[in-house]
Amino acid sequence: MKKQKLFLLSSILFLLYSDFLLADKSEWFQRNNWNAFISQTAIYSSDYNFLSQSDDKLSLDLWEAGLLVSTAVKDKLTFSAQLLGRKVSDSSGNDLRIDYAFFSYPFYQSMNETFGLRLGRIRSSYGLYNETRDIPHTRTGIAMPQSIYFDMTRNTFYSADGIELFGYRDFDDQRLSAQIFFSKPVADEDETGEVESLNPTNLEGDKSLLAKISYGSEYDGIRTSFTYYRPEYKVDVSFPVGAMTLEDKDASFYSESMITSLEYNQFDWSVTAEYLRHKFATKIPVLGGIPGSQIKNKGYEEAFYVQGLYRFSEQWETYLRYDSTERHIDRSLQDNEKWHDINIGASFRPNENWLLRTEIHYIEGLSRLLSRDNVFSSAQDPYWTTAMFQVAYKW
């Protein structure tokens, strides 16, 4: 498989290079754009470490930085890549990775319609905001709504190597678009422990499918979308069975998400709601001889958020959001199986480069906390608060 990918990549590069040598050089690498951003966030949390080591102290752990380049390689063939640095806590280390790097080619383009493909490492276009979730200037608040855009498995779930077919048709300023993305997810070993609770010792992306359809305008009127996303991973698991520990190196884990999104935008206000139905399960072949036990850790959760945003002026805006996740299970929910977060925030943009933000969250539940940053016990308080302040700059 690796040889096939290497051959495909070499062929593309050879064709591009031979064309480059023969062609008029002025046609190559036009419209080059460089962009960059950096942010630093201060977080204080009352009882837990949330996106930082901030339990009962002020933490400056969370920073983000990105460097983006895009160019028109030749004619309609474009290339875009982003190097992203992000640190959410000491336990996560300094995370520097190629977030995406892909070629895009529209093979049919008219005044109102485009059909094309993208090839390479692509950010999943999950929900309304996953593609730009790491850029402070395109978010509503400092923390994304954790119900839908959870940070526990951000790298493992949201970036993948593969091929995406896309198409859209414009109806005046409304756009109907569809895309389908076949890929291999890029697993992040730091996030292995977050994926499920069977002590996995290895995590490798296997295959993934994303299909999305959307309609509307980004800033005037309704915008709606539906996303189906099913990434699968190979995992090595070990778990206790009686007095023994059972191990399986051929286990697999899958997650299946269906997100329905709806947003309404007007000149000075916006309302956004997204609903997620999330199924997950670990298949363990070694348990094949035991009826009904081949699949472990199976379940599903329902999550949604509703958010209102008001723009007072070109510089000032505020938002109010309710964010909820509950696991479906035939008993009362434990604290780490739910997340109810009411949060409010404000932002100030003195000019197009600088951004200052603050927000406060009142949370019941622990299900979106990073397990690698927290030690959970049955006596913990499920009600807690966190306050954040962020300064960001973009070039």
Binding site: Q82, M111, S125, E131, T132, D134, D170, E218, Y219, E314
Partner: protein
């Protein structure tokens, strides 16, 4: 104040505000390179062009979009009065395209003189100015 005086005062105020609106609309011009075949655009088309959705003219030429810097008064007026959007909302749309790697933002210029010069020499270009000064290689696009 007599009833007649009050009526006169209100009439003057209404007329002057109407005149000032007409004056704003008259001085803010959408311009394009002379190669562009279109002589008028629907407001929805202009919005599609400035949100970088519409990328081709009707003859298949690529649209090259130019904007003034975000703090420029003409840019603010163009966004708020013509597109009916905060400049920052428009920026968010552009940065979502740019930072997802799926599109480009418009080319930003520093002055109306530079805008006229670049629109004049770039085939398929579109921009906007408040001044009456035009270049022979540019044309005014009316917005319906």
């Amino acid at each position: 104040m007599t009833k007649l005086k009050r009526t006169f005062l209100i009439t003057v105020l209404v007329l002057s505000s109407l005149l000032s609106m007409t004056s704003l609309a008259a001085t803010l011009n959408v311009i394009a390179n002379a190669s562009v075949e279109e002589s008028h655009l629907k407001l929805k088309d202009l919005r599609s062009i400035y949100t970088m959705k519409k990328s081709l003219w009707s003859n298949g030429d690529r649209i090259a979009v130019f904007v003034l810097s975000a703090d420029n008064a003409t840019h603010k007026e163009f966004c708020r009065k013509l597109l009916k959007v905060f400049p920052r909302q428009l920026e968010s749309v552009w940065y979502r395209l740019v930072y997802s790697g799926t599109g480009e933002k418009p080319v930003s210029v520093n002055s109306e003189e530079e805008m006229i010069e670049l629109v004049a020499k770039t085939p398929g270009a579109i921009g906007y100015i408040r001044s009456e000064t035009m270049h022979e290689e540019t044309k005014v696009i009316s917005i319906k």
